[in-house]
């Protein structure tokens, strides 16, 4: 090998090392503040082209997935960890809630994740005070945003197949070209029930702990699918687009439940009841009411 060859090989090795490290740092960049985290996964950029979808999402419970669940998360941190388990608050523990309620926190530093956990406690415990409201205002920046589903969680059901998400890539059902907006990749996973079931079911944390926020997916798989049902979560819960109507939406609840009533008045035979009546020899005004309550959904009711 001459000097020129040695130089070429060395340069190639250095370039590989440099760009490899750069990619790694982009994928593993850890935010130190909530604003930094929000900037890394900025939903407002999506709004520029997807205004209607963004507006639907803004009205959904996904857009307030943290602040709408403060009580439960507070109880986990302040009672579960602090008292019942006698376990310190760490990012791994916080992620037992936030991996679903704010998936971007995966990219927060250990310190920021713990700070967010403490803010959850403050926001709930000091609700209505200046400090509590300030914490809630900060936490409102965290949610299940566009990139939570279209990037971070998109391929998580088949992580072995898809690997970690590419930073900045938008994964969607069609992979339609977004021109200069962003890179797009088709990923059918996002159209499947198993995609939603990552969070809307029994959750298994990294350390094996099971969290039963709801068990929709259990009845979906074990009862609905087992009886031949074939609709996906998205078939019903995306009928109103990215508003993801559920138990809070009376239209979808009404659609999912059936009630049929038969009221049959009749005269009961005198002298045949143990009940004390005003006149024992008179016909007894009576009625039979038959009620048929139907669950037309793909999961048990109530749940969620």
């Amino acid at each position: 090998m001459n000097v020129k060859q040695v130089f070429s090989v060395t340069l190639a090795l250095l370039l590989t090392l440099f760009f490899g490290a750069a990619n790694l740092s982009a994928a593993e960049k850890q935010a130190e503040t909530i604003d930094e985290l929000v900037a890394m996964f900025d939903n407002s950029k999506c709004m520029e082209c997807h205004e209607e979808t963004h507006s639907e999402w803004k009205g959904s419970w996904h857009s307030r997935a943290v602040i709408s669940s403060l009580k439960g998360m507070h109880n986990f941190i302040a009672i579960g960890l602090a008292k019942e388990w006698d376990t310190p608050l760490t990012k791994a523990q916080v992620m037992k809630c936030l991996d679903c309620h704010a998936p971007t926190v995966k990219y927060a530093s250990e310190k920021l994740a713990v700070d967010i956990g403490n803010m959850i406690v403050t926001a709930h415990k000091m609700k209505g005070t200046k400090k509590g409201d300030a914490a809630k205002k900060e936490l409102a920046k965290l949610n299940v945003g566009c990139l939570s589903c279209h990037n971070i969680k998109a391929g998580a059901v088949a992580r072995g197949l898809h690997g970690e998400p590419t930073p900045g890539m938008i994964y969607g059902p069609t992979g339609a070209d977004a021109e200069d907006g962003h890179e797009t990749e088709e990923l059918v996973d996002i159209t499947r029930a198993s995609f939603c079931m990552q969070c809307h079911g029994k959750y298994k944390a990294a350390d094996g702990e099971t969290i039963q926020c709801n068990t929709l997916s259990g009845s979906y798989q074990n009862t609905y699918i087992a009886q031949g049902g074939s609709q996906t979560c998205q078939d019903c819960h995306m009928k109103k687009g990215h508003t993801f109507p559920g138990g809070h939406d009376l239209d979808i609840v009404t659609e999912g439940l059936g009630l049929q009533v038969e009221i049959i008045p009749y005269g009961h035979l005198p002298g045949t009841l143990k009940k004390k009546l005003k006149e024992e020899k008179k016909w007894i005004p009576s009625a039979v009411v038959n009620v048929f309550v139907e669950n037309k959904t793909g999961h048990r009711v109530p749940d969620g």
């Binding site: 579960g80 609905y224 009221i263 008045p265 005004p285 009620v291 309550v293 048990r300």
Partner: protein, 104 residues
């Protein structure tokens, strides 16, 4: 989810005395920890007793009511309510029927 069935005596003017019959059916779940104690925290619940209405299931409930012999005008109401939380419930479906008894 709650099913309420009531029967009222419409000839009675005092609303507090109108109720002749009431019954209720509730669908819900009981979350239990590993010691079999009822729990609400998602991190505490490891098993459930499932008292919900299962998908594709139609449950038939029958209510038999016998009123006193001087009752003539009755209103029967059936209401199905969905509770998004323990505190907030909405009536999803309801049906009401009024009829008179005349055995003379």
């Amino acid at each position: 989810m709650v099913l309420d069935v009531t029967a009222k005596n419409l000839d009675e003017k005092d609303p507090k005395k109108q109720l002749l019959f009431s019954d209720q059916k509730v669908w819900w779940e009981i979350g239990k920890d590993l010691h079999g104690r009822m729990r609400y925290g998602a991190w505490q619940i490891k098993e459930i007793v499932d008292l919900t209405l299962q998908p594709m299931e139609t449950r038939k409930e029958r209510f038999l009511m016998n009123f006193d012999t001087d009752i003539e005008t009755v209103e029967i109401e059936v209401k199905l309510s969905y509770f998004i939380s323990g505190k907030k419930g909405d009536v999803i479906h309801s049906e009401k029927k009024t009829f008179e008894y005349d055995f003379d």
